[in-house]
């Protein structure tokens, strides 16, 4: 069974999924961060594939992407770096990035590689739902890779139902109309959006991302969903970390409210 599906079967709440950019802050930090996140007790890991033009991302992740690319990061190298990741990491792993590098790698080749190294799902914000359905779903299915779709406060109910229908694993709920890391804190308006979606009783569990950075925002998100995704706040931590492992563990403890 796909590790993502299994995780949601075994755990219904307070799921913490943490994002970081591969090859950042240094080219070979990818596996150090992966191992540290595993030790820290996160439920899921999202590895960002750096891209030159990440339009859905705010400044923090843009800069991390640029530094990673300057460090020499590529999709090919990422698969090499995570070749043996399943020897040390047992939680589900998702790759997050933009559609162009995946197209250039070859969608089938990409999915095949994901299966080989033990990646469970992909998040490609600029992959249109209809293109996925018509051109790529069969390939993803063949290699057991889940494609995770996003919804936002502006997504119409009919479209949410449609996305729920074709989703497997979970739905990525974007907390506000924004790029990543643009807003901090969770407002009352956002909470009522969380409640509205929660009341729709979707088939799929939801993780809330964008603007989640600490215990307070994590709690607010987790109250109305299966958990949350943290990106920019963690990227900031590793960007200036002296001890990647320790500071990763401290950060996750802080988010969990264990300190």
């Amino acid at each position: 069974m796909n590790r993502i599906v299994k995780t949601f079967q075994e755990k219904k709440e307070n799921i913490l999924n943490v994002y970081f950019t591969a090859g950042y802050p240094n080219l070979n930090d990818t596996s150090i961060v992966l191992d540290s996140l595993q030790k820290s007790g996160v439920d899921m890991i999202e590895i960002g594939m750096p891209y030159s033009d990440p339009v859905a991302d705010g400044e923090t992740i843009q800069q991390a992407n640029q530094i990673a690319l300057d460090n020499g990061m590529t999709v090919k190298l990422l698969f090499e770096q995570i070749e043996n990741v399943r020897q040390t990491v047992s939680v589900p792993i998702l790759l997050m990035g933009y559609v162009n590098p995946v197209l250039q790698f070859g969608v089938e080749e990409f999915c095949k590689k994901c299966q080989e190294v033990g990646v469970d799902g992909l998040i490609l914000p600029d992959m249109p739902v209809n293109v996925y359905e018509e051109e790529y779903k069969a390939i993803f299915d063949k290699y057991g890779i889940l494609n995770i779709f996003l919804i936002t406060p502006q997504t119409a109910d009919v479209r949410i139902r449609q996305i729920d229908e074709i989703s497997e694993g979970f739905i990525y709920m974007v907390s506000s109309a924004s790029t990543t890391g643009a807003k901090s804190g969770i407002s009352d308006v956002q909470e009522s959006y969380f409640e509205r979606i929660s009341a729709m009783n979707l088939r799929n569990p939801r993780l809330i991302g964008f603007g989640i950075s600490d215990n307070q925002t994590f709690q607010k998100a987790a109250k109305n969903s299966a958990g949350a995704i943290i990106g920019s706040a963690f990227v900031k931590v590793i960007g200036s970390a002296k001890d990647l492992e320790k500071e990763t563990i401290d950060f996750v403890e802080m988010v969990r409210g264990n300190n």
Binding site: N100, P101, T152
Partner: protein, 397 residues
């Protein structure tokens, strides 16, 4: 505005051949979808047509003249007409599109406008229509372009727009476009994004092409008046994203006897690594919401282009042009920085018209066309050169 049902136009799924589509994050889906379902009916409304045409006539100054360039014709031993888009209000063809889009934005109930700009011509044209309609206007422009197109930055500010510097990546048009898209993601409800070329997710390329199609619509009757024949042997236009070329080609797409000549920026030369000639250097990829030709690394990272001309300094090309390239309906040329500079002087001194640097690329192709004396070449003179005086002073004076 009339439109044609050419096979070179967009299909009902938003594609030109294999190019096009709407590769956008879900955050932009409601806005782009709203536009997609409504743009054709909005544009077809008689009240819209009336307002659009009246503004093109009384505000932009259309129809723009079709001018027989005698001395240029003599030099190249053929018959050259110049379509004088440089005489449009604000100095380039860009305003045809911004007039159309601001009228669409108003009908969608939008209160604010965001746009990207390279040469600053689209920024100025956007700031202009925002002033005209009383809408708030934010323009993103690459840091490098802010420097090299200083007069246009001042014009935008004078018109009441806020100019924001795009400091990421190559600090040029591509990055200004990224920032404008991010701005739209963060302000989806009250803001309309006025894209400046035939790029972006469907329906933008088609919508912009329709607004620019007035260029070839006028060319046809003007040619008939002047030559007795509506179809020339060549239509020539420079291509950044491709909006002036789309407008100049539009009504000739199915006139197979007319050769369509698209001129890209060769920069220092297409083999130098300092170029923006997308059809020579790009391959299929996705940028700014559409699948098209794209200059990129084997890893799929977008390459930073180079052109002396800010308006052509873009690593992609509109999906319509990618299809015209693939189907060989249009022929593509790459003109270097140096050749463009030479042509700017040539046109200035042969015809008394100082062209924009972008446009100078189109002029420069004359020496490669080998058009015959009895053949008619129409060059779309997309803009005037005032904004480029600093560059001209540095390089050619």
């Amino acid at each position: 505005m009339t439109t044609t049902e050419s096979i070179y136009n967009v299909n009902e799924k938003g594609y030109y051949g294999q190019f096009g589509g709407a590769f956008i994050p879900e955050m932009l889906y409601p806005n782009v979808e709203e536009l997609r379902v409504s743009y054709l009916s909005i544009i077809a409304e008689p009240a819209f047509q009336e307002e659009f045409n009246a503004l093109l006539k009384d505000y932009v100054g259309r129809p723009t003249p079709l001018f027989l360039a005698k001395r240029l014709s003599e030099k190249y031993n053929t018959t050259v007409y110049l379509k004088r888009e440089d005489l449009c209000h604000t100095g380039a063809h860009k305003v045809n599109n911004t007039i159309g889009q601001i009228l669409v934005a108003k009908r969608l109930g939008k209160k604010k406008i965001v746009a990207e700009t390279g040469a600053g011509q689209h920024g100025v044209a956007t700031a202009t229509v925002c002033a005209l309609m009383g809408l708030e206007c934010i323009i993103y422009m690459g840091e490098i372009d802010i420097e090299r197109q200083a007069p246009n930055v001042a014009r935008m500010k004078m018109l009441g727009a806020e100019v924001r510097s795009a400091t990421s990546g190559s600090k040029t048009l591509k990055d200004a476009t990224n920032e404008a898209m991010r701005h739209w993601i963060n302000n989806p409800v009250d803001t309309h994004y006025i894209i400046g070329s035939v790029v972006g997710p469907h329906p933008y390329p088609d919508m912009v092409a329709r607004f620019q199609s007035v260029i070839s619509e006028e060319m046809k009757w003007q040619l008939t008046e002047k030559t007795g024949k509506s179809t020339p042997d060549y239509v020539v236009a420079c291509v950044g994203g491709g909006s002036n070329a789309a407008g100049a080609f539009y009504h000739f797409l199915d006139d197979k006897e007319t050769r369509l000549i698209a001129v890209e920026a060769g920069g220092h030369g297409i083999t130098t690594g300092m170029s923006a000639a997308t059809t020579f250097l790009g391959k299929m990829g996705v940028l700014h919401g559409s699948k098209s030709l794209l200059m990129q690394t084997t890893d799929g990272q977008v390459v930073e282009p180079h052109s002396i001309s800010a308006g052509l300094d873009y690593p992609g090309i509109g999906p319509m042009h990618a299809n015209l390239w693939e189907t060989k309906r249009a022929e593509f040329f790459a003109i270097t920085d140096e050749e463009a500079l030479e042509s700017s002087l040539e046109l200035s001194q042969l015809e008394g018209i100082i062209p924009a640097l972008e446009t100078a690329h189109a002029i420069a192709v004359l020496k490669y066309l080998n058009a015959k004396p009895n053949e008619t070449v129409v060059i779309n003179l997309s803009g005037r050169g005032d904004k480029d005086l600093a560059t001209y002073m540095k390089h050619v004076l």
